[in-house]
């Protein structure tokens, strides 16, 4: 129940991300035959439409959160930026979990040399701060949303791998696994039917934290100008742009900053609710 209630924040962000093309567009929802607007979209502005006559408008009735240095509507860009953040977060999270669970389960179940090799890779990837590794890789690859999200996923799988490995290692000698092995089950069956169903829940419980970290890395990357390339609106890039016009248009800073903070807090809150203990403050060994 706690988990359901605490997932509301995340669901709101996901809904905004999904509906953003409908929520913010200059084309109205309903027109009559004569082309007159019957029902305008809630935020009647395109995120990318440049209008230099309306640069640096303060928040008001025409633009609820004002406009930026190109006359683009801050709210429309904020709403559309949700797609980048939530999308990159989810994609990176999925890649990280898929990678982490597969490698962790293999390491724990197979053992021996394969386990040592996988742990060695975990150790190496963890020797770099995620942002540094992703930024360095971004230097060698063309900038795009997909590249950024995949890179973040490829650096974020190590914690899930450790958790799943520990669980799979414990299960390797469990009676029901031994029985299955004795009756001739192949390794793939052991993995899929017996080990994964038990090893998965603790890994899934880390998903919200992985999501939060991925969202942060994505916006940090966009803030450095290395993430999703320009025309698309992302919160990180909006913050970098806002930094350049801090004195002329201070209203551009708060919306993306608060949205980013709220999304990360919502993810953490959901994660905290999934943990078995009421609130483990410090995961110190």
């Amino acid at each position: 129940m706690r988990a359901v209630r605490s997932s509301v924040g995340l669901l709101v962000f996901a809904a905004v991300a999904l509906l953003s093309p409908l929520l913010a567009r200059s084309r109205p929802w309903l027109e009559d035959a004569g082309g007159r607007v019957v029902l305008p979209a809630p935020i009647p502005h395109d995120p990318d439409s440049v209008n230099l006559d309306e640069r640096f408008q303060r928040p008001g009735t025409a633009h609820w959160l004002g406009t930026d240095e190109l006359g683009r509507d801050v709210l429309a860009r904020l709403v559309h930026g949700t797609r980048v953040s939530v999308g990159a977060g989810l994609l990176a999270c999925a890649v990280a979990l898929l990678f982490g669970v597969t490698l962790g389960a293999t390491a724990g179940l197979v053992g021996g040399r394969a386990e040592r090799a996988i742990l060695f890779v975990v150790e190496i990837v963890q020797a770099f701060p995620a942002l540094v590794l992703v930024a360095a890789a971004a230097a060698f690859l063309p900038p795009s949303f997909l590249v950024a999200a995949l890179l973040i996923g490829f650096t974020g799988w190590t914690d899930a791998a450790r958790l799943v490995r520990a669980e799979a290692r414990r299960l390797r000698t469990a009676p029901f696994v031994e029985a299955s092995r004795a009756s001739g089950a192949r390794r793939s069956r052991l993995l899929l039917v017996h080990v994964l169903p038990h090893a998965l829940p603790p890994a899934l419980a880390t998903a919200p934290y992985v999501l939060g970290a991925a969202v942060l890395t994505e916006s940090a990357l966009s803030f450095l100008g290395l993430g999703t390339p320009p025309p698309a609106s992302s919160w990180g890039r909006a913050l970098a742009d806002a930094r350049d016009v801090l004195t002329t248009a201070p209203w551009c800073v708060l919306p993306p900053a608060l949205a980013l903070l709220l999304l990360v807090l919502a993810a953490r809150r959901f994660g905290d609710a999934l943990l078995p203990a009421p609130r483990s403050r410090m995961p110190l060994a």
Partner: protein, 321 residues
């Protein structure tokens, strides 16, 4: 203990080897041709002869195993070649950018310790009390706030609105010129340190040894001092885990405030696809993190020899995050 130290050092050397290899793999990932990238960076058309000369200069015409061997031997001597942008040795550019970054990180760490240790101890004196709950909430919030968001909010208030501080860091303005970047970088570390200090002191105060000391009449500051001393092992791991977060924070903070250090160098080099500089800086970061983890493990083995009895674990630092 000496055997443990040797084993731990050997494990670290192996990890370092992996780190060097990973950076090599990253460099090989580059699609197309670094020569073309250099052409894009300088913005001029380059003749085929110049490209060939460039490829020879950087050894790109040799086969993969040869390049890998060359990379290993250069990495061992910390020679990363010359920057694509200005042709100066990467090592020199790195050395130039380090002092400002070290100053920034040192000041931030000092500020974080000055705030975090007293408030962590104060929170641990009465777990669940009002101060504990309020400071726990504040530190949770700070911990989740990314450095560039916190820095922008500080800039908004102190530079754009109050005009107490310049918009970019400026050492000639005295304290006002550097206080914002230092504070921004310190925020996340403060939260982490305060949380670890709190939970360590709570655990140490609840220890039977603490109870015995209490029975002997030990109170207040003396009890806290002893609790802090008993938590030295976890603190070493904490120190190692601060290194990656400070490194990532430096990249963002230096970019945000125009601080002329290694973090900004990395961001700029990535932006201009200056492959040797990116490789050198990435490798240096990896070396630093591995070295910090090794030092922390050796230190906690020295403080508490019981840790030697376990087989050398991968790294303690990863568990604090």
């Amino acid at each position: 203990m000496p055997r443990y130290a040797l084993r731990r050092l050997a494990a670290s050397l192996l990890t370092l080897f992996g780190v060097v290899t990973l950076v090599f793999v990253l460099m090989e990932l580059a699609p197309g041709d670094p020569a073309a990238a250099a052409r894009a960076a300088t913005g001029r058309a380059v003749s085929p002869e110049a490209v060939a000369a460039f490829r020879r200069l950087y050894g790109l015409d040799r086969p993969l195993p040869v390049r890998y061997a060359a990379w290993l031997s250069r990495a061992a001597t910390l020679d990363f070649g010359r920057s694509f942008l200005d042709g100066r040795p990467v090592t020199r550019r790195l050395a130039e950018s380090l002092p400002p970054t070290l100053a920034l990180n040192g000041l931030a760490l000092l500020a974080a310790l000055l705030v975090a240790v007293p408030s962590g101890v104060a929170a641990a004196r009465r777990p669940g009390g009002r101060f504990d709950r309020v400071s726990g909430f504040v530190f949770d919030l700070l911990f989740a706030t990314p450095a560039f968001v916190a820095g922008l909010l500080l800039l908004l208030v102190f530079s754009a609105r109050l005009r107490w501080t310049p918009l970019f860091s400026d050492p000639s303005r005295g304290v006002a010129g550097w206080v914002l970047p230092v504070a921004t970088l310190a925020l996340a570390s403060t939260a982490l340190i305060a949380r670890v200090v709190r939970s360590c002191v709570v655990a140490a105060l609840g220890d039977p040894a603490a109870l015995a000391a209490r029975a002997r009449g030990e109170r207040g500051a003396a009890a806290v001092r002893r609790a802090l001393r008993r938590s030295a092992g976890p603190f070493a791991a904490l120190g190692a885990s601060l290194v990656p977060s400070l490194a990532a924070g430096s990249v963002l903070v230096e970019r945000l405030f125009g601080w002329p250090g290694a973090g900004r160098l990395l961001a700029d080099a990535v932006f201009s696809r200056d492959v040797p500089v990116v490789a050198g800086l990435t490798l240096a970061t990896g070396l630093l993190v591995v070295a910090a983890g090794t030092c922390a493990d050796l230190l906690s083995a020295f403080i508490d020899p019981r840790t030697c009895e376990e087989p050398p674990r991968l790294s303690t630092a990863a568990e604090v995050r």
